[in-house]
């Protein structure tokens, strides 16, 4: 890819993914790392850059999932405030829902790499030209091309792509579809910058039967995987909400795997009054048999 082909579409795409926001002044990746001429990148600087990029993508995913977590359970944190739903009582950040999601997505979702990698690549290659006008960024064309190449190299070569990356990429693309201004602002990720109604709108797009995004992704896959990808995305749309909600109310944050005991009172228990004195062996709630009947016969 030459400098000239890193067109507005690629710039827009990288911005929508949240990647441009993570680079440059105040970002996670210095512009200096992108200074190598793109033509030489393949041979010298690129492997190093790919290594630098990996933690950037991880942080971007974490920030995006922070935005998802507080969507499921808002609390007294900046993400909930930015979402427009501040709360005095603990929420998903206190319940460590983001860690719950990342651990699940990256280690336990038995999603085949053979599918995850093309899905990530499809996000990175197929969705550039969306016609949405975005605020500009100040990266020079050469820097942009290097970044783009590094991303492509990472997607193509990493043996196992953490699933949290394509998931967060998906949410950020949807976020910028809902609100193009979300490419800039506080936090790292476009999704985390949305308000509650905008996040809901993003999920509406994902869940909707005629999702353009879903259709676009299908194009990236040959038969018979075509319909599978769009079907899975509809599943993912629901599962992200359900799993983030489930995780927020579990004991995850205070469970000691070694002792199999709790180290504190789970947020979900605090919020719901569940088991006020901790785990039990039983309750004194037996009040008899309905109408005194203890057995029935034909």
């Amino acid at each position: 890819m030459s400098n000239s082909t890193v067109a507005l579409g690629r710039r827009a795409f990288l911005a929508r993914l949240g990647l441009l926001g993570a680079v440059g002044a105040g970002g996670l990746l210095s512009r200096g790392a992108l200074a190598a001429p793109a033509a030489n990148a393949q041979t010298d600087a690129l492997p190093g850059l790919v290594a630098l990029l990996r933690p950037v993508l991880a942080e971007l995913a974490r920030d995006t999932l922070n935005g998802l977590s507080v969507f499921a359970l808002p609390g007294p944190d900046p993400y909930s405030a930015a979402q427009g739903t501040p709360s005095d009582t603990p929420g998903a950040m206190e319940a460590r829902t983001t860690d719950f999601l990342i651990e699940a997505l990256d280690n336990f979702v038995p999603f085949p790499d053979q599918l995850a990698r093309p899905a990530g690549a499809a996000l990175a290659t197929g969705l550039a030209d969306t016609g949405i006008e975005l605020p500009g960024t100040d990266l020079l064309p050469g820097e942009l091309a290097t970044l783009d190449k590094a991303l492509a190299a990472l997607l193509e070569n990493d043996a196992t792509l953490p699933l949290s990356f394509p998931i967060s990429g998906l949410l950020n693309l949807l976020a910028t579809q809902v609100n193009p201004l979300a490419v800039n602002g506080p936090f790292l990720s476009p999704f985390a910058r949305l308000n509650y109604a905008e996040k809901a709108r993003a999920f509406e797009l994902l869940e909707g039967p005629d999702s353009d995004l879903v259709a676009l992704l299908d194009v990236q896959f040959p038969e018979p995987l075509k319909a599978s990808v769009s079907g899975l995305l509809k599943f993912v749309g629901g599962a992200l909400i359900e799993f983030a909600s489930f995780g927020s109310y579990t004991e995850y944050a205070v469970f000691d795997r070694g002792t199999r005991q709790l180290t504190g009172r789970p947020v979900g228990w605090q919020l719901t009054g569940y088991q006020p004195d901790g785990p039990v062996e039983g309750w004194d709630d037996f009040i008899g048999y309905y109408q005194g009947r203890t057995e029935v016969h034909d």
């Binding site: 899975l232 629901g238 062996e281």
Partner: protein
């Protein structure tokens, strides 16, 4: 060469294994998942540790929880709640053992006959199954459920609906009642104290009202495995199968191997007929493959895994009905918010029900906080107040149906979980050919091509849709009658939890996999003995009792047809699974 190999130690397989072990046959049971022989060391009662579908001890996966779960393709927003391990999904069930409605059998001739799914009835009469119902009810054993506060609240609502109380085992019409459940009822201190020191066996017997049914039953503390309150098959039929020599004259204990994933059923042609001859299984830990032959093979891996194994074994599928006709009771979820204490989520997960043949039924359900959050966010109707995803039905509930999530859920539970009462809406759903299991195009796992579960939930039959709307309305009326100040309908996306009929038996060769003996039409000596063998969704009643009754009958058929034996259910008396001889032998075996 074994007499019988049973594939799967869930709700159905151990029934066949136990019955044939009692006849002295050589039975091998292969379970793909964990043994869970020491629940006090392997389980907690925490929701993520237990129920996380990816990493919990109740998931679909191998024993080693550092390894990923087994991936299954669902091509829609849905949740197929499969469990591996001894006990299968009975590990997390609530022990409800209602009988199937008489209207789903082929001799039903009441005036509402045509209101049922008459094209997919059982290929015999209700009366044919009654002795088997009674046999299982005595074995489990099944009892009338005790009442806690959440049941009292539910009944208060039922009493406003103008329906009678059912006081028979058989459901003859719309009515409500305590569950008939496979739970040992509270005895001694159980249900009467929260003092842990007083809740040890034998000072406490039966259900302690802990509220942890969905996380697995290992109470009362100190009880023998076959005296734990909930009669999941790991506590009932499996202990009996492993100890058949002590309670059955001439009985022979089964051999149980876990982490043994069956990847292939073998066949051979004998006297012009295709016959099952054995299986190959793969050890989850070592990856080694083993092959063993048997005179009879019984599939009991569940509604999703049986079709997969059938396809992966290359078995014939002449009428294309393998995997089709999957029923799920097209569940829905309705929540009432009360000013007063409701007792949620204490006691058995659900101890009260309302039946409304031929529409379906309702159950009260108590859920701990995270499962409650899951239940309120699994919807096909978007997010309340934000978007409806093209649905969002309105009715006698408040506002449009949809997810209660985020700030609204936080507000709902802020009054306390024990101010909520949840009602599960159970639909009498039609057998539909397009709700099915096929082989996924996604990459295979270590056990071969994976199954894909398809439910066309937005185009169910008119009768199914009508039934669901009717029962959702009844749920809302019930909750208002009980005193709910606010009622929410979630409009669940498919939660595939009651699973039935994906390898169905039927009257017609055109739309069934099994003959009326539960033997496959295409392969002789190959039987199916779990929920997938059921002819239909039973009208709505929870499937376990009917599956186990049918599996008992299937065991008799196997013994008669392939081993020249005589039937026993009408001639003998069953042994109850809590029998102390079983407890003693379990102790000797270190179980």
């Amino acid at each position: 060469m074994r007499d019988v190999i049973v594939i799967g130690a869930g709700g159905g397989g151990p029934v066949v294994a136990k019955e044939l072990a009692a006849r002295g046959l050589d039975v091998l049971v292969l379970e793909a998942g964990p043994r869970h022989a020491r629940p006090r060391e392997q389980w907690t009662s925490f929701e993520n540790d237990a129920n996380n579908p990816l990493s919990g001890y109740f998931r679909l996966g191998p024993t080693d929880r550092s390894k990923p779960a087994w991936f299954r393709e669902w091509s829609q927003n849905s949740f197929v709640w499969q469990l591996s391990g001894v006990g299968g999904t009975t590990q997390h069930f609530y022990g409800n053992y209602p009988r199937a409605y008489p209207g789903v059998f082929n001799d039903y001739d009441k005036p509402d006959r045509a209101e049922y799914d008459i094209n997919h009835r059982f290929p015999f009469s209700y009366g044919e199954l009654v002795p088997y119902f009674e046999w299982v009810e005595a074995t489990a054993p099944v009892m009338t459920a005790a009442m806690g506060t959440k049941e009292a609240v539910f009944f208060r609502g039922c009493e406003t609906l103008g329906l009678p109380v059912q006081t028979t085992k058989t459901t003859h019409g719309p009515s409500y009642r305590p569950q008939e459940n496979a739970i040992l009822q509270p005895g001694g201190n159980a249900g009467r104290t929260t003092d842990t020191n007083l809740l040890t066996y034998p000072n406490a017997t039966g259900c302690t009202f802990c509220g942890y049914c969905f996380q697995g039953c290992m109470r009362p503390v100190g009880a023998p495995r076959n005296q734990f309150a909930k009669r999941s098959t790991d506590n009932s039929y499996v202990p009996m199968a492993l100890t058949a020599d002590v309670w059955a004259p001439g009985g022979r204990p089964v051999e149980l191997i876990t982490d043994a994933y069956v990847t292939r059923i073998h066949t051979e042609r004998r006297a012009g007929a295709l016959r099952a001859s054995g299986v190959t299984w793969r050890d989850n830990v070592s990856g080694a493959e083993h092959r063993e032959d048997a005179k009879v093979v019984v599939m009991a891996g569940g509604c999703t895994e049986n079709p997969r194994l059938w396809f992966n074994s290359g078995l014939p599928n002449p009428n294309d009905w393998v995997g089709r006709g999957y029923t799920d009771h097209f569940f829905d979820w309705v929540i009432g918010s009360f000013d007063d204490y409701t007792g949620n989520p204490k006691g058995v997960g659900s101890s009260a029900r309302l039946d409304f043949p031929p529409y379906g039924g309702l159950e009260n359900v108590g859920l701990p906080p995270a499962l409650n959050a899951f239940a309120t966010t699994l919807s096909d109707s978007g997010i309340r107040g934000q978007y409806a995803n093209g649905r969002g039905p309105s009715g006698p509930w408040d506002g449009p149906a949809g997810r209660v999530m985020g700030p609204e859920l936080k507000e709902l539970v802020a009054g306390g979980l024990d101010r909520l009462l949840c009602v599960l809406v159970i639909t009498d759903d039609d057998v539909e050919a397009d709700n099915r299991v096929v082989t996924s195009a996604l990459p295979a796992d270590e056990n071969g091509p994976i199954p894909k579960v398809t439910f066309r939930h937005r185009s169910r039959t008119a009768r199914t849709t009508r039934n669901r709307e009717f029962m959702a309305g009844k749920a809302a009326q019930l909750l208002r009658g009980a005193g709910a100040k606010k009622v929410f309908r979630i409009d669940w996306a498919p939660l595939i939890l009651h699973v039935q009929s994906s390898m169905r038996m039927g009257e017609s060769e055109q739309n069934s996999v099994l003959d009326p003996n539960a033997e496959s039409r295409a392969v002789k000596g190959l039987f199916i003995a779990d929920n997938s063998a059921l002819a239909n969704g039973l009208g709505g009643p929870n499937p376990t009792l009917t599956t186990q009754a049918l599996a008992t009958r299937t065991a008799e058929k196997i013994f008669q047809l392939h081993f020249g034996g005589d039937p026993w259910v009408r001639a003998e008396s069953p042994v109850v699974s809590t029998d102390p001889r079983i407890s003693v032998r379990l102790g000797e075996l270190g179980l």
